[in-house]
């Protein structure tokens, strides 16, 4: 047999780098997820809540402007109230770290935790597109034969989940902070509300990374889409059922709920109890009202657990990572 030339004669054109190839996985995954109309509804809903949050921030900001419509409207209700409002706004104006910083921290704590279920729903809707469909169609074999490693595949799929969570959680929260302060009566609002943004971003990192890892792990459990979505919803709801049980008997049972752990992470990061204490101790009149109504939170979700949520979150993530690794390993 004649000798053949086996010199390399691959594609003659330009080669794209590895990050470009990872981006392709992310883009393809995002497109596939956003083809689902429920996902589009969810994204729209989350951005609508941004409008609400911006409106609230705008209204709160208006309390610090003596001649604002809100203050004037409140003053017209009652002449006695006019004196109180003028004194109160003057106090708030002199204490921006409380009137802006503390209030926005509390508002963003509420907003971030209210958006948490939508983040979980996002992951539930994205789960079939993360790994399950690649397993069921066996396309993962073809992807593995291309010029990407399993790590690249994992990074690409994680990018899909992170991208979706950015659309439904981080994006709305960060935009609400930016636009809300843009519409505020003073540029200093950006500075005084920096802790609210920092806490939101810190919780965003924890929540998004955790849900991404959990979503990848659950998605890799089975090639059947219904099974993986069902498993995620079951983990979510059954886990939550342990929270009231844990409040009555063994406190550690509460940590079987990953949503509870995320809520505890939000409490640990935002520390709203510290803000409330500040308001009680320092804000005139309102502080007295808060002191009189001082009571323990009704819900175990709002009560700081003596146990930290981090070990439970790390355990969930470790199990999910192991499943993902094992299931995407070629066999």
């Amino acid at each position: 047999m004649a000798l053949r030339d086996i010199s390399y004669r691959h594609w003659q054109g330009r080669h794209e780098g590895i990050w470009h190839r990872r981006r392709v996985i992310v883009e393809a995954g995002l497109q596939a997820c956003l083809q689902n109309r429920w996902m589009r509804y969810l994204v729209s809903f989350c951005w609508l809540t941004t409008l609400v949050q911006v409106s609230v921030l705008f209204a709160v900001g208006q309390f610090l402007v003596a001649d604002s419509i809100i203050v004037q409207w409140a003053a017209h209700l009652n002449p006695q109230l006019q004196t109180f409002v003028r004194g109160f706004t003057a106090w708030l104006d002199q204490h921006p770290e409380i009137s802006v910083g503390t209030v926005q921290n509390l508002l963003f704590y509420r907003y971030a935790t209210l958006l948490m279920p939508t983040a979980l729903l996002t992951v539930a809707l994205a789960i079939p597109h993360l790994v399950s469909r690649d397993l069921s169609s066996n396309a993962i074999v073809i992807y593995a034969s291309k010029a990407v490693t399993r790590l690249d595949y994992a990074i690409g799929k994680a990018g899909v989940a992170l991208g979706l969570l950015s659309l439904t959680w981080l994006g709305p929260v960060a935009t609400a902070w930016f636009v809300g302060n843009l519409l505020a009566p003073d540029w200093s609002f950006f500075w005084h509300s920096r802790h609210a943004l920092g806490h939101s971003l810190a919780l965003g990192i924890v929540l998004m990374l955790f849900l991404t890892v959990l979503g990848l792990g659950v998605s890799a459990v089975s090639p059947r889409e219904k099974a993986t979505v069902g498993l995620f919803v079951a983990l979510w709801l059954v886990g939550n059922a342990f929270v009231p049980l844990g409040a009555l008997s063994q406190p550690w049972l509460k940590h079987l709920s990953f949503q509870y752990n995320l809520s505890q992470a939000a409490l640990a990061i935002f520390q709203p109890d510290r803000d409330l204490a500040t308001a009680r101790d320092q804000v005139p009149v309102l502080g007295d009202m808060l002191r009189r109504s001082r009571r323990r939170p009704d819900s175990p979700w709002l009560e700081r657990s003596p146990q930290k949520p981090w070990p439970a979150l790390i355990a969930f993530a470790a199990v999910a990572t192991t499943i993902f690794q094992r299931r995407t390993r070629p066999e």
């Binding site: 053949r4 086996i6 390399y8 066996n138 490693t149 690249d152």
Partner: protein
């Protein structure tokens, strides 16, 4: 001649199940057929070659490199897996474009390559807007082949590429493979349809129970088989006379006379010396020959002998 694939003491185990057992072999350039029954280790070998598995033991070099976790090498390899492996909710052009980019092609060229390849595997354009899940098995097989050829690989590995294709489709795929081989692409193709492999490949690697039993061209395989007896079937006007002449010449191992069909079937002791004397013996017998066939030169016969 530089081997495309070089394996030394290669083993692959799945728990206690053996996929490949301490095999050493080389696969040369050109079109090479992987032959073996189900469970022989063909797919395991293919997955090792394409870097899907890390070998349990031994070493494997493909185009001079270790294929495990080696995207640089995978850019030079095209792989068409055996089973269903297409995402049903994608259209072929965007999906192939994405795969082309995964292989390192720029987006501007990826779509054009995808369309060119779909034309090349003769997937009718009127089906391009459909989702892959709506395709027939033959159409899906063509898309699978297209994705393997997408990035102009230097080395193409195909696991049962003819599965699900009608005879015309098989011919077309065989033509594409021969064309690619003629352009310098090295191809390893496995199939359980030995007649097709025989028509396609010049060299073969025979696997059985996780072992490489033989490799080489058909003639090399035949000469490697111990006690190989060439078997011929001659249809002529006087089969008895021909049998007597061959018997007297001492070349026969055995024969079977079918006078009704004017046919003599016989096995010869030493094929090389027999073929040197064959024309002289025919001339001596003075029979009129209608047809001569050598059934056991087929790949199937060789395979049966090798695995016996």
């Amino acid at each position: 001649m530089t081997p495309i694939v070089h394996a030394t003491g290669l083993s692959q185990w799945y728990g206690i199940v053996m996929g490949l057992n301490n095999v050493s072999f080389e696969i040369g350039p050109g079109l090479v057929g992987l032959v073996g029954p189900n469970g022989a280790g063909k797919s395991t070998l293919i997955q090792l070659i394409t870097g899907q598995f890390r070998p349990s033991s031994g070493s494997l070099r493909v185009l001079g490199e270790n294929p495990w976790n080696n995207p640089r090498l995978l850019r030079r390899i095209g792989y068409c897996p055996e089973g269903e492996s297409l995402p049903p909710d994608h259209q072929p052009v965007p999906w192939l474009s994405g795969l082309a980019i995964l292989s390192g092609l720029p987006p501007s060229d990826a779509r054009q390559r995808a369309e060119t390849l779909l034309d090349r595997v003769r997937l009718p354009r009127e089906h391009w807007h459909k989702r892959l899940g709506q395709y027939s098995k033959g159409m899906r097989q063509r898309v699978k082949l297209a994705q393997a050829l997408l990035h102009q690989p230097e080395f193409l590995v195909l696991d049962e590429p003819m599965n699900g294709l009608d005879p015309l489709g098989r011919q077309e795929i065989a033509h594409i493979l021969k064309e690619s081989a003629a352009q310098g692409t090295h191809i390893v193709v496995s199939s359980h349809i030995l007649a097709e492999l025989e028509a396609l490949c010049r060299e073969f690697l025979i696997l059985h129970w996780g072992r490489v039993l033989a490799s080489g061209s058909r003639d090399e395989l035949r000469t490697d088989v111990p006690n190989w007896a060439e078997q011929l079937q001659v249809r002529c006007d006087q089969p008895e006379t021909l049998a007597r002449v061959l018997f007297d010449a001492g070349v026969l191992l055995g024969f079977d006379l079918d006078a009704d069909h004017e046919t003599l079937r016989f096995r010869v002791r030493d094929p090389e010396s027999f073929y040197r004397r064959w024309l002289g013996l025919l001339e001596t017998s003075r029979v009129v020959v209608y047809e001569i066939r050598s059934d056991n030169r087929s790949l199937r016969q060789i395979f049966e002998k090798v695995t016996a």
